[in-house]
Symmetry: C2
Subunit: 403 residues, 2 copies
């Protein structure tokens, strides 16, 4: 009857072997934010695409500096966005604007700050060691046409959006997003718009999981299946063809109506583990369907579900989407004891101290049923099972669920 419980690190190991085989798809660049780029992005031209004026001022030829010339007749003005002018007499100048193409026959920009206007002429008392191409952002110096600007696999953030628009990538090939089903089980659950009877509660886990996925840019669909073995079997089987990932909440404890493990077995799902040496979230069940779809069957307690989603599901999903896997540690700001031989995920509120270091305070409450505490805290720190006492100053792995 007792399951073989495994360590959280073993959970990581098992889950990390499951991979999503997601196709690519083309989306409009304005819909690409947060997506995983599935093609290299190349420079469609040199950058800068022309010798670009880098300061507002006057464009001259460097021979004028060599000749110690100080007074320049202004031939013309070269604005940004206009075709290239030509300096007619090499000892004259053209006023040039930041972002403009450098006029033909000029190769130095003397900024206005070093000049003094004298009628139709410009006077420069000090060239401050200016030479050929001073204050000119030279064509192709940043990137040559054809070079890779962004590699496939990069997550498209606002920084990449700037680059995509620069090179005119109106459509972008990205990795398709996984299709996720979030399935609540439990006869005690009623809809959020219902008034529950005394012995009922409203569905909430499916919404917190769904919105946690949404925070990562992943949409999902919610289902509720009652605690009836046949109904579970039929409905779950029906969902297998439509989704890549299944997240269940409830139905995996030792209760008489916790049919899920048995139903999964009958549907040919290969159990990977049932039970983790952790609190909260001990009854966590995980398996893989015949078509390599992972099933995260999380315990029904709200804090347990939420911890398992944040500690295992979201990091795995982000790795599959090629997002960076980051593992900060936080400094515990007060002593804490937990005397069971389990990994304990302590709810904490994080902050940066005056030295800019990441610190955490255990939040009050912390009973695994205390949902409201999840709002006050913003992360869990992972207290390893081999110690019972944790002291102020200890550095512990932290799992954020709020930004």
């Amino acid at each position: 009857m007792q399951n073989h419980l495994i360590e959280p690190s073993k959970v990581d190991e098992i889950i990390s072997k499951v991979h999503l085989d997601l196709p690519s798809e083309k989306v409009n660049f304005s819909d690409s934010l947060g997506r995983t780029l599935a093609e290299n992005i190349y420079a469609d031209r040199d950058f800068p695409p022309f010798d670009r004026v880098a300061m507002d001022g006057i464009g001259i030829h460097h021979s004028s500096i060599d000749n110690a010339k100080n007074l320049f007749i202004i031939e013309d003005v070269q604005p940004a966005g206009s075709s290239q002018l030509k300096l007619k007499e090499s000892e004259n100048c053209i006023e040039v604007m930041t972002g403009a193409i450098l006029p033909e026959g000029t190769d130095v920009v003397i900024p206005y700050e070093w000049t003094e206007r004298r009628g139709e002429q410009m006077f420069v008392s000090d060239f401050k060691h200016a030479q050929s191409f001073t204050n000119v952002h030279r064509k192709g110096i940043d990137v040559k046409k054809g070079e890779v600007l962004i590699k496939a696999g990069t997550i498209i953030t606002s920084a990449e959006i700037g680059i995509l628009s620069t090179v005119g990538k109106v459509e972008v090939v990205v990795k398709a997003l996984p299709k996720v089903a979030v399935i609540a089980t439990g006869d005690e659950l009623v809809g959020i718009d219902q008034i529950p009877a005394d012995y009922q509660i409203r569905m909430s886990n499916c919404y917190s999981i769904q919105s946690r996925l949404q925070e990562e840019g992943i949409s999902s669909k919610i289902y509720h299946i009652v605690d009836d073995k046949e109904a579970l079997k039929v409905k779950i089987k029906g969902l297998f063809s439509s989704y890549n990932i299944f997240v269940f909440s409830g139905g995996v404890s030792k209760g008489k109506f916790d049919y899920l493990p048995q139903v999964f077995e009958e549907l040919g799902v290969v159990k990977q583990f049932h039970g983790v040496k952790q609190r909260p979230g001990k009854p966590f069940w995980f398996g893989i369907t015949k078509n390599n779809q992972p099933i995260f069957a999380l315990p029904g307690n709200p804090v347990s579900t939420y911890l398992c989603a944040n500690r295992y599901l979201i990091p795995w999903l982000n790795r599959e989407l090629q997002k960076e896997n980051r593992q900060p540690k936080a400094i515990l700001d007060s002593d804490y004891s937990f005397d069971k031989p389990l990994t304990y995920f302590l709810q904490v509120k994080s902050y940066y101290n005056s030295s800019g270091e990441l610190c955490v305070s255990p939040t009050t409450g912390g009973g695994s049923g205390d949902l409201a505490n999840l709002s006050i805290a913003d992360a869990f720190v992972e207290l390893p099972s081999d110690r019972n006492t944790f002291i102020k100053g200890d550095k512990l792995p932290i799992w954020f669920y709020k930004k």
Copy 2:
């Protein structure tokens, strides 16, 4: 002609005095993710709403323990989601499921792990110090009906979504989002779907700003206005009635066609500063309209615009939306020199070292025109103006633009 340049800290001080007066609005809870809660959320009932079974097992009366009774006749099964049963004989038991209401006449739950089934009876060899309400999550122990679960001003994350659904808040009052206009200026700009001439470039700053805002859950509208003083004046004036915040890109340097500061002045905008002792982003202009709308007029260079947006605009906006203001510091992992009396915002790639500490590597490139480098880096660190040399191990304020 030379503007009076101010320090970045002075920019913070000036901008922090501008406040958005945003109304409240009611949204469906499924649209509330990321929004700022504008009402307190109260418990609509006690939590737990009933004496809740916390383990799968049997419910007994504690007098059986006192009487050292070991064998219990099973009267019935109390599933989760069913109305409350009643134990008929106090020396018997009822099987109880996690999440169920505790049957009347029972006050202790003995988990299955401690029991052994003997036909229609359950045998318990060891009560492990169980007593009244062991393994029972008592009614109201977490929260009493009417207590505040989430305070107004909290950002609605997936954690809050769980609570909102628990209490059946189908509609939620949140702070309205600001209306933001992002305005590109510059005759050299063409649309992203255009092939630019040699002296033209595609618009990109407006898209990176727009998507940076989108990453914070704020939508905006993009405009492009050419470098024509009258056109600028008429169009900008026309926008004043429709937006709370204006972000300009370009048109604030010293060029002959950098009309914005003058146009703003003629429209009655009160300039707060023009020019910051920083690189990139020195020509940053900031003013406030007669109706208290801030105008962030950012330099046209892509990295300058992006730095100013991330260092000033986004943190200010987040503070106005009551998001937490966090200031981590990162450890520089190699020496770096910058020999100008300016605050330098160094592009860096951040990572956590094996001790879980936040570290940064300067990324190559870093010319203020090197847009591609923004994709390789993920943050800026702020090198103060009073030092020129920064050494490995220095802790510096970091401004992330990627998660």
